[in-house]
């Protein structure tokens, strides 16, 4: 695993060199917070950011994505034939992704790249993207990544991991894609691999908030499902989509056809299990028409069903966005600990 030393004096010119081979995406201040966006030719990624309000999952999974176009005009010889919507899957690089968000992409990939099915939209975007991560030396007080299977120096899902060392970045190339990107930027000075371990330990020690997860796998699903605490825990929830939209591991989507006159497009949009419409059946029956049922579903999915299905830990990377942004102060940490500690009355 190569480690390259990037002198910060060469950072801007390296980024500029990358622009010819990659569309760059990075954290940029937008109004009062950072968000990931495609960088224009004179924009640079703001490497001093904490984390973005919305996760970078939209790089591979845009909130609204056209899938097909079609014409309803019966005079058109190709009417009612679905045609692929034009896409740009040219090479792209996300610069400055946090390790939690990168691990989230790796977790979500398990849904979109299975032995039975490969989602072309998500996977083509993913294959075209190189993920350059920035390790967190100053985690936020709501970050609980170390007990959510992740950490401030976690490497899963990244092609390169950068550690900020003051005047330089030490860049660990984790994959071939990562090596290729570093070479494209012209960064080739030999780096110092030994800085990573101690910095990682320092950063991990700064994480003050933790969740307890050891018992989740062993709990009986139906016991947790029938637990009496869901109604109380869900009281303040207003069933908006804030948590699902901010969450890097949420991947549910809805497919809609939108027509204007005779022209149509089939769109894939983010959907949220927090909404009543999410489980509305065509018959009019809704198996989750009450708030506490939807609330329970979200946390059971993240903290139990996913755990059982894949044996890879939580479907949560501890980024803390839902905790910070929930209007009603629903806290996944509280719920996780409650689930982990629950003993069914016998």
């Amino acid at each position: 695993m190569k480690v390259i030393k990037i002198d910060k004096n060469t950072w801007a010119s390296g980024i500029d060199s990358l622009r010819s081979g990659y569309r760059l995406v990075g954290p940029v201040m937008q109004g009062d917070a950072h968000d990931f966006k495609e960088l224009t030719s004179d924009e640079a990624p703001d490497m001093a950011f904490g984390n973005t309000r919305l996760s970078p999952k939209s790089v591979v999974f845009p909130q609204s994505e056209p899938m097909f176009t079609y014409s309803l005009d019966e005079n058109d010889p190709e009417h009612h034939i679905l045609k692929d919507a034009p896409k740009d899957y040219s090479a792209r690089a996300v610069i400055g992704m946090r390790p939690c968000d990168a691990k989230a992409v790796a977790l979500v990939r398990m849904n979109f790249d299975t032995p039975d099915y490969r989602d072309p939209y998500w996977m083509d975007a993913y294959d075209a993207t190189t993920f350059v991560g920035l390790a967190c030396d100053n985690p936020c007080e709501t970050c609980f990544c170390t007990t959510a299977g992740c950490g401030p120096y976690h490497e899963e899902g990244l092609d390169v991991l950068l550690s900020d060392c003051g005047d330089t970045y030490e860049a660990k190339a984790l994959t071939e894609k990562g090596e290729k990107l570093l070479a494209s930027a012209g960064w080739d000075a030999e780096g110092d691999a030994s800085v990573f371990e101690p910095k990682k330990a320092d950063a991990e020690a700064k994480i003050v908030t933790k969740v307890e997860t050891a018992n989740l796998r062993g709990k009986n699903s139906l016991d947790l499902y029938d637990a009496p605490f869901w109604k109380e825990l869900s009281f303040s929830c207003i069933n908006c989509g804030t948590c699902t939209y901010a969450c890097p591991t949420c991947w549910c989507f809805d497919i809609q056809d939108e027509n204007k006159g005779n022209d149509g497009v089939r769109m894939r949009n983010w959907d949220s299990c927090m909404t009543s419409l999410f489980t509305m059946h065509g018959s009019g029956h809704n198996p989750r028409d009450q708030k506490h049922q939807r609330f329970r579903q979200r946390f059971m999915h993240k903290l139990k069903y996913f755990v059982d299905k894949y044996d890879k830990g939580l479907m949560c990377v501890g980024c803390g966005r839902c905790v910070q942004q929930c209007p009603a102060n629903i806290d996944i940490r509280t719920i996780c600990n409650k689930m982990n500690g629950y003993e069914a009355a016998s």
Binding site: A33, S64, S236, I238, G241, M267, N269, V323, A328
Partner: protein, 283 residues
Amino acid sequence: MESYIGKIREISERLLSDGTVECVVGFRKGTVALTNEPCMITKAEDAKDLVWDANCRLNLANYLTGRKEKIAVIAKGCDSRNIVNHIIENKISREQLVIIGVPCKGMADKNNPESLQDNCATCTHRNPVIYDELCADLVEEQTDVDKYEDVRAVEAMGTQEKWAFFEELLSGCTRCYACKNACPLCYCPTCFVDESRPQWVGKGTDPIDIRTYHFLRAYHCAGRCTDCGACEAACPQNIKVRQFTKKLEKDCNELYGWEAGLTVDQRPPLDSFKLDDPEKFIM
């Protein structure tokens, strides 16, 4: 306002232990700095968990609609006006409620805790308009505040400028619907955004759909909105969504001399008709 909490807890404990109510809706301390979580307590001994401070931004009237039991609710000025609205609109009956009134001195801006939240800075109804118990003495109402300075600034803009203003305002909207769901007025079993067959509003991020949602929601709030600010407090993207509702509030005020939720004895202007209603905008 920290001194209020002693009285709030005492009243809540009493109402629960003597069986006057089955539950009390209030706030408990949040797990994140500067946040409190709306909660419902059903046991008298849990009254000690209730808190009250400048982070009680959500409108607790939002949690009342459709409930069947006898409830005590902690209500600041704006919350109490929304309770009046609920009573007028048959979403809850007066007899079900024991309103613990809070004379409010304003909530802290969630992003700038040294300042008052925007709507609180120009509030003229800090005292609850309807209550059964009070947790403190009534406070002096602010007079001489210019509630609509920002609305007039937008009204004065030319068409292109206005368009750009609203385009910019809504640029961060992800349609999470936190604003709608935090709003006590939005209680429709099927919101217009969820209608299908036919679908009223697209579900994607097309700016046309985003604007349609905000404009239409604002119109549904016209004559009912109390400017409680829960919508802006809830928005994770810090969008100033009150720009829409404040304009309509100003219009109702100027056209009908109306302020929402002050008395259960009068129906809102868009709900009722008088022969001398102004018609300038129709004719």
